[in-house]
């Protein structure tokens, strides 16, 4: 029975963290779900819709949170950040700080799951796109908030929107060499949503190529192009300029070989996914390895294990779409349960 007292801490309550805590709790072990913010949900909570089924992500979150509330073995600690950790009786002694009043609390845990998610790259380095200079140049998450505003009838209806892909991704000179993987899909989703809300608006997606590898993904993007009539232009914009209060995107249509200019109201930059700034520090605290960018690295043949008794799930390993975050959360939980079951 001694095994039944074992506790795991899950750091970060996005979809991956929630799923991991839930599965550990349902398996009969104690789970502490520590979240820095006031609300659970992480990046997913900021999204207006999802691909490939156009569902409201908050429905998924609400369902998961209801399950959490019905699971007495999971305790949720909001406003909590991990301050320190030390090895303690075969596990870790983790110090959590409450960001509201600054009080700290020590917890003895037997395993750790890191689920700190990803962040978006700071795009102010792309001066040519005017992020941080023109207020209507938004990153992808800011645009999700704008979509929600539009859906509630507030804000000015746009006549034109341009979405620029691979900003900070696949760019060896200024950004990151890797493909951030999720942007092709969420950009198609965002472009389609604008067309649904404002059928008369002109919506352009500037792309290098689109990578729709996944179940129903290719069909999703083709529908956005063919049925919703979003105009895909192959070429990387050179510049975003301000013209009479609107934004002028200057690019080359490389399929035609001609320079193009489109006048729009909002420019959306599909920012590269980067590790959360705190992930590297947490990884050091728990002896986990990170790659050159700061994403967590798994041990050989152990896809969710980062170090002894330390596991990870979701965007802190690399950018993931929601279903994959849930799968990784469940896989990390399985690894913890297997560890706890082993004497």
């Amino acid at each position: 029975m001694r095994n039944r007292e074992k506790t795991a801490i899950v750091i970060g309550a996005g979809p991956a963290g929630i799923e991991a805590a839930l599965k550990i709790g349902q398996a009969g072990y104690q789970a502490v779900l520590a979240e820095r913010e006031a609300e659970l949900g992480g990046t997913l909570r900021q999204l207006y819709s999802s691909f490939p089924r156009w569902e409201d992500p908050r429905d998924l979150l609400d369902a998961k949170i209801r399950q959490l509330e019905n699971c007495p073995r999971v305790s949720i600690m909001k406003h909590s950040t991990v301050e320190a950790s030390q090895l303690h009786e075969g596990g870790f002694l983790v110090t959590l700080r409450d960001s509201r009043n600054g009080t700290t609390k020590d917890l003895h845990v037997d395993a750790v799951i890191l689920a700190t998610g990803f962040a978006l790259m700071d795009l102010s380095i792309y001066g040519e796109y005017g992020y941080g200079i023109y207020p209507e140049v938004l990153n992808a998450l800011e645009f999700e908030a704008r979509l929600r505003e539009w859906s509630q009838g507030s804000g000015q209806a746009p006549q034109g929107v341009a979405l620029i892909k691979c900003v900070g991704s696949r760019d060896r000179s200024k950004g990151n060499p890797y493909c951030s993987k999720i942007c092709c899909m969420y950009t198609a989703k965002q472009a389609g949503l604008v067309k649904d809300m404002f059928p008369d608006a002109k919506v352009y997606v500037f792309y290098m190529d689109y990578r729709a590898a996944g179940k129903e993904y290719e069909e999703f993007v083709r529908d956005v192009i063919e049925k919703k009539h979003v105009r895909y232009v192959r070429g990387r914009p050179a510049k975003v300029l301000c013209e009479n209060g609107r934004l002028l995107v200057r690019a080359e249509d490389t399929l035609v070989g001609l320079p193009v200019e489109v006048l729009v109201d909002v420019v959306v930059l599909a920012s590269a996914a980067v590790p959360h700034p705190g992930t590297r520090k947490l990884a050091e605290m728990f002896g986990a390895k990170t790659d050159e960018y700061g994403f967590l690295e798994n041990e050989r043949f152990e896809p969710v294990k980062a170090a002894d008794k330390v596991f990870f799930a979701g965007g802190c390993g690399f950018a993931v779409e929601t279903p994959l975050a849930l799968q990784q959360g469940a896989a990390a939980a399985a690894a913890v349960i297997a560890l706890f079951n082993t004497r």
């Binding site: 380095i125 001066g127 040519e128 796109y129 200024k174 510049k239 300029l241 301000c242 013209e243």
Partner: protein, 314 residues
Amino acid sequence: MQDERMIKPEERLPEIPRTLFLFRSCTGSLEYPGTESAVKECLGILGIDAVMDPDQTCCSGYLLTCSAHKPEVSLAATARNLSIVEKKHLDTYTFCNGCFGYLSELAHIMLHNVDYLHMANSMIADWGYKYEGKTKIFHVQDLWYRMKDALAQKVVRPLNGLRIGTHHGCHYLARQYRILDDGGYPTFHEEIIEALGGKPVFYKERQLCCGYSVGRGFTHKEETVQPQLYKKFKSAKDAAVELITTVCPGCNVAMDREQPHLSKRYGEEFNIPVIDLSQLIALALGVPLPKLGFAANTTSLNGVLKKLGLEEGS
């Protein structure tokens, strides 16, 4: 992973030099001699000695861009010029974006490929030159920006809110690493102009290339250079720009000398004078007009000088 892209002026130029080597530019010294003269006057006012050497030749960028000779020959010319500076134990300051770009680029190639360095040095060794890579390469705009506040204190002819548009030019910003500003949206010239009492104007095509790109200035004037410049000047005129500054004499040639052709071809008068940023600084610091050589400009400056209460010759 990589070098910082933007650095602070204090980091780029930790110490203000007391003496520097001023690298002459073919265009900035001959086509617009007022540029060289203005740079020297400004340095004099700031108490910095400028050393020059008649042994220094053209940076050779002009010929290299026109594919007039092989890059290897340019490496030797660069190594020779820089070795002259090294003998004097000074850093190199150019007043032309082209010189800056070519010197930095070719020096980088030699210092990162030992074979090229040996090749260049073997070509110049017969005349007793040897390049070791000790001199650092700057553009005088680095210094102006670093000493912005000192310049502001020495202003005797404030620019009285003159509406000034900038043209940053490509060869400085295209270096991309360890430069003073973001190549995608530079504003450091605007800050200097503000410090001198001018009103920087962000006209729409502020960052559009002058279209000259050396070779094209000769071969594709009608096809590329003029349409490009027309677009640029049209937006400057719409924004009521009264004067445009450059930091590259090559850009100056394109933007100044082409204006009469633009008027003829497009039937639209612009009359926006184009001068070097150093000339503007010298103007604000009270350098006498004859030393600024505005007579070399095709597009006359008179309107601007009148506005500042000056007449040519005073």
